[in-house]
Structure formats: C-alpha cells, structure tokens
C-alpha cells in the first residue's frame, strides 16, 4: 500500500514495460464507434474520450464462453481432460474504472460462496487491474449510491488518478500491484502529496442502499414490477454488459466422439431461463424476471453474500434498447 507519482512519460514507459513482460494488456479502444476493452500493444491505441466502455471487464475473469472440461469417448469409455489453470495467460486490464474493479467482489462472491470455482479463480489469479479514477461521469453513473466512488480502490491492484500535468497519482494497492510496478520501478516517483479527491468527479448519491433494501424486503408483491417492466422486451443486454451479473448456462459442444462442456453467459431476463422441461415456468412473465433482477442484486445478494450486486456503472441503462433506466427505477422504489 503505497502512493507514488508517475509522470506522463513514466506512464508510457511503464505501459511498454508491461507489454514487454509478455502479459496481455486489454484497454479501452475506440473501434467501430464503440469503446470496449481490446488487446492493445501501444498506449496510443487506448481511448481517452469516453465515460464508460460498452461492456464491463467481467469477461476477463468470467469469459463469455469457456470450456469447463473436455472429454473423448474411446471404446465405450470416457476420458476426461480437466480445465488447466496454467492455460490462462497473465493479463492486465488497463484503464479500468473503479466501478468495474469493484465488480470483481460480487462476482467472486457468487462463484465462491460455497465451493470454490476453479475456473473463475484461475482467471482471477492471472488478472491484474490497473484502474483509473474517474474525473467525469454521466447521468447514468451512480457508483456513489452503491458503496462506490469515483476514486474507489476496491478490486484494483494499482489505481492511477490523472493529474493536469499528464502524470498521475499511483496508488499501489496490492502485492500484485507491487509486482506490476516492479516491472519498471524507476518511473514510480515519490508521492507529491497531492490529494486525489480534487481530481475526482463530484457525484452525489442518488439513493440510500439501506432505504432501498428496506423497501425491497416488502416489495415482492408490489405493482411496481409490472409498471416498470412493461416496456422491457426481455433481451439480455443489461445482464451481459453488467460487471456483476453471473448467471450462466452449461452446454455441450460435440464433435463426434469428442466433446466439451461449456459454460456460457445467460441472463435471468430471458423467458426460457427458468423454464422446466414440464413446460412449467416459475418466472413466466417479464415483470417477474425484472423483479428477480432487481431483488437479486439489491436484496438477495446483500442478504446471502453480504455484497450488493451493483457497482453503479450504469451500463445497463446505457445498453437498454428501451431505456429501462436502473437508476430511475431504483430511485423510484426508494422514494415509494
């Protein structure tokens, strides 16, 4: 845990040192009009003009589709090949927002709440987060309402707070962050004593989590779910851009006698998600599915896992084709 100063050129040198070390570096890149994390080799590929990437960094520790294990049928027998944690390459997620980094906690809570998830943990072990605190926000951002802040360091290994001179305050937060800094220690200069708060965007809280929690505990039968969800078209955009949504499906990829069991993203908003083979569907209507999404994040997760399932990144509101604005909806529940 130490705070350092890194100059503009220092940042670039350090970045290059990370690349040279052979680690894969993902950073926000502007391509096809979208800002998203992509594999980068050069600092100048990294985009600066944006509020939020379309997708979260969830995929780095919870890939969209991954092989749980593979198998081969030989003469009536089955040979299994386990997932190999060593196959996961060392990865650095560069220029992560605090709300993204904060997402790893709830994500891991789900994957490890009772029985460790080997795959997720293998990815976690190989992934380092270099977060950048936020100097700007938009109307969809609400991290401050969900225990976060523009300078929240939770989940980050190193956090940079950009300064007007192009340099940054570098908070080395974890030992993994230390290792990362150690790739080029010379650029990490002594802390200049600047307070990072001055360079953070001011984002007042919009609701109180406790209040929301209290309201939600009594809201299961409320009409609010139906009212809010009427326009929801039941796609999975919100879940897939969310840094904490972890619902998944297990599927089979078969090629003759060889096959793989695959885990892939799923969403509680899909109509078929809970459908029984018998045809019975416990969450038959979209309103029930919307309720599940909200209650799971803001009520069930805090109660069962001790962590709120939302980091206030606002991606779901931005991605929603029909403007299901989570901030608006949560605020209105809080005010009921």
């Amino acid at each position: 845990m130490e705070t350092k100063y890194i100059s503009q050129s220092g940042i670039e040198q350090w970045f290059n040192a990370i690349i040279t070390s052979g680690k894969r570096v993902y950073a926000p890149v502007n391509s096809r009009g979208q800002i998203d994390f992509k594999l980068v080799k050069n600092l100048n590929e990294v985009s600066s003009e944006y509020i939020q990437t379309t997708q979260s960094i969830k995929a780095s520790v919870y890939p969209k589709a991954e092989v749980l294990f593979s198998y081969e049928k030989v003469n009536g027998k089955v040979n299994l090949t386990d997932f190999d944690p060593e196959s996961v390459p060392e990865t650095v997620m560069w220029k992560v927002h605090p709300c993204d980094a904060a997402g790893f906690k709830p994500l891991s809570a789900i994957f490890n709440w009772d029985g460790a998830d080997k795959l997720h943990n293998a990815h976690l072990a190989k992934t380092s987060l270099v977060s950048f605190s936020c100097a700007s926000a938009d109307e969809s951002c609400f991290c401050t309402s969900v225990n976060g802040s523009p300078g929240n360091t939770a989940g980050s290994d190193i956090q940079l707070t950009m300064l007007p001179d192009g340099g940054a305050i570098a908070e080395i937060l974890t030992s993994r962050g230390g290792e990362l800094a150690a790739l080029l220690p010379s650029v990490f200069e002594a802390d200049k004593g600047v307070k990072k708060e001055k360079y953070l965007v001011d984002l007042p809280a919009r609701f109180s989590l406790e209040e929301v929690n209290t309201k939600l505990s009594k809201a299961f039968n409320s009409t609010v779910w139906k009212e809010q969800s009427e326009r929801c078209i039941g796609c999975g955009a919100c879940a897939f851009v969310c840094p904490t949504c972890a619902c998944f499906d297990i599927q089979e990829d078969v090629h003759g006698s060889k096959g793989r069991r695959i885990r892939c993203w799923d969403a509680c908003g899909f109509a078929m998600f809970t459908l029984h083979t018998s045809g019975h569907n416990p969450r038959e209507h979209q309103s029930q599915r919307w309720r599940q999404r909200i209650l799971h994040k803001f009520s069930y997760m805090p109660e069962r896992l001790g962590v709120v399932g939302c980091t206030g990144c606002g991606r779901c509101s931005r991605a929603c084709p029909v403007d299901m604005n989570i901030l608006e909806h949560i605020t209105s529940i809080a005010q009921q």
Binding site: E230, C235, C320, D323
Partner: protein, 266 residues
C-alpha cells in the same frame, strides 16, 4: 402532439380501448409508454425521435390483454403491423392504429386495408447511415466482407436484443432454443454468432420491413439491421415485391413462381 394526447385520453376515457401504446420522454430519448388511463395520456409525446417499433409489443398477450387497444404507429411500425396481420398474429377488431401523416394530421386506421392503403404512399428509402455502410460493403471483395462481418460478429454476446426488439420475432421458442438437435450453439462465439445472424436473415426473407429496430437495439453496435434490409432490397425485385410492402398472402419463401430466375443451378 396535443391531438394525440387528447385522442388517446378520449379513447381511454370512453372505454373504446383499454390501452394506448405510445411514447413518452425518456432519460435520453423517447421511450415506449403503456397508457392505461386518460391521465397518463398526458405523458404521451410524438415526434421524429420516436423510433421504437411498438409493434413488438402487440404479440405479447400478457401486456396488451384481451381487450381492444390502440397503438401509435409511425410508418415503420405500420409496415410491421401489416406483416403481423399477414402472419395471423393480429386481429382487426382488437387493434386501433393511430398515426400522424406528413401534414401533421392524426389518422386512425382500423382495417388492414386502411393500413395497406396508407403505407402504399410511402416509399422505403435508405437513410444516410444505411447508404454509407452498405455502399462500403458493396465495394468489398468477398474476403473483405467475411473479415468485416467476422470482426462485427466477434462483438456479439448473444443478448438477443435484436430478436427481442424485432416485431416479427414472436416465436414462443426461438430456433436457437431448440436443442433436438442443437442447430445453433447457444454460446457467443464467432461461428455461433454468425450462424445466428444468417439464420435470422433467412427467417426475415420476405418478412423484414426494414424498420431498423434490431440495429437500434444492438448494444454493441453491430449493423445487423443492414443484413435483413439488404436482403429485403435484393429479394423484393427478385420475387416481385415492393420493398416495405408486405405480400397479402404468404411470403417470399412460402410461395414461388415458375419463372423465378437464377443462374447458379446447373
């Protein structure tokens, strides 16, 4: 705008309809509004920014209920409604269509014929964005097209917003959810994504009305609407249809002509 509010309020107050589907001001742009009483009709707005295709809700029984309802439908929505009629998904006695013609007059269209007659006046044209991307694609070699789409497809994470936003994707169990056999792998991966989009385009041949809802909905910005639009533009003359005007019976792939032309069957 005022006219729409008034009319919607009247329709609701008089009990002619139990629901008016329209638009309200959203957080960034207008969004769909379900008006169930004359009071909420005051929230209704209608202008050129209202581009959601509300026809997508018309096939959701739990939302529209059993009684008669009204929908505010710009031209793109009207085309979808026509196609839904052709596909036996709507009945004339349940639906009242409100639209605003180019002169700003509020029009009420009751029958399928009314809608068809009205829609006929409007030619389906490419917008600037469509024109730009499609002409770019036109100039590509096959290999470049493949690269272009593979890059686009690599972003698809199968949220199915395209399917959910499309008024014509009303199947209760989509082919991607059919697992005997599992035609299209359900996980997001370039091939499975590609298969899904080719499949979607095939299912839209002769049906797509180029409303663009799928493209608008795509959270990762894949111009998927252009696949089905291009198909519609290319296939309509091939099979003798006018783009944007649904066939009265059947569709391009459920019908045929003796003299359908092709040069590739030997």
């Amino acid at each position: 705008m005022e006219k729409i509010r008034e009319r919607a309020a009247t329709l609701l107050a008089e009990g002619v309809v139990t629901l008016v589907l329209g638009y309200e001001e959203g957080t960034k742009r207008p969004r769909p509004l379900f008006c169930r009483n004359s009071e909420s009709a005051r929230k209704l707005i209608f202008d050129s920014r209202c581009i959601h295709n509300l026809a997508v809700y018309l096939t959701k029984k739990e939302l529209v209920g059993k009684d008669r309802f009204a929908v505010i439908a710009p031209i793109a929505t009207l085309r979808s409604i026509m196609q839904l009629y052709v596909e036996n998904q709507l009945s004339e006695d349940k639906l009242l269509v409100l639209t605003v013609d180019p002169s700003g007059e509020l029009r009420e269209l009751v029958t399928f014929e009314d809608i068809a007659g009205y829609v006929e006046q409007f030619e389906l044209k490419r917008g600037e964005r469509e024109q730009e991307i499609l002409s770019k694609i036109d100039e590509m070699s096959r290999e470049e097209r493949w690269k272009f789409w593979m890059e686009e497809m690599s972003h698809c994470f199968k949220c199915y917003a395209c399917r959910s936003a499309c008024p014509l994707c009303y199947c209760s169990k989509c082919v991607v959810e059919v697992n005997r056999p599992q035609w299209i792998n359900p996980w997001p991966a370039p091939l499975a994504n590609m298969e899904w989009h080719i499949n979607r385009a095939m299912h839209m041949v002769g049906r797509c009305t180029a409303c663009g809802a799928c493209g608008d909905a795509c959270p990762v910005g894949i111009p998927i609407d252009l696949i089905t639009r291009k198909m519609m533009e290319d296939m309509a003359p091939e099979f003798g249809y006018i783009p944007g005007q649904p066939a009265k019976k059947g569709n391009a792939l459920s019908t045929w002509k003796l003299d359908d032309r092709e040069q590739f069957i030997r």
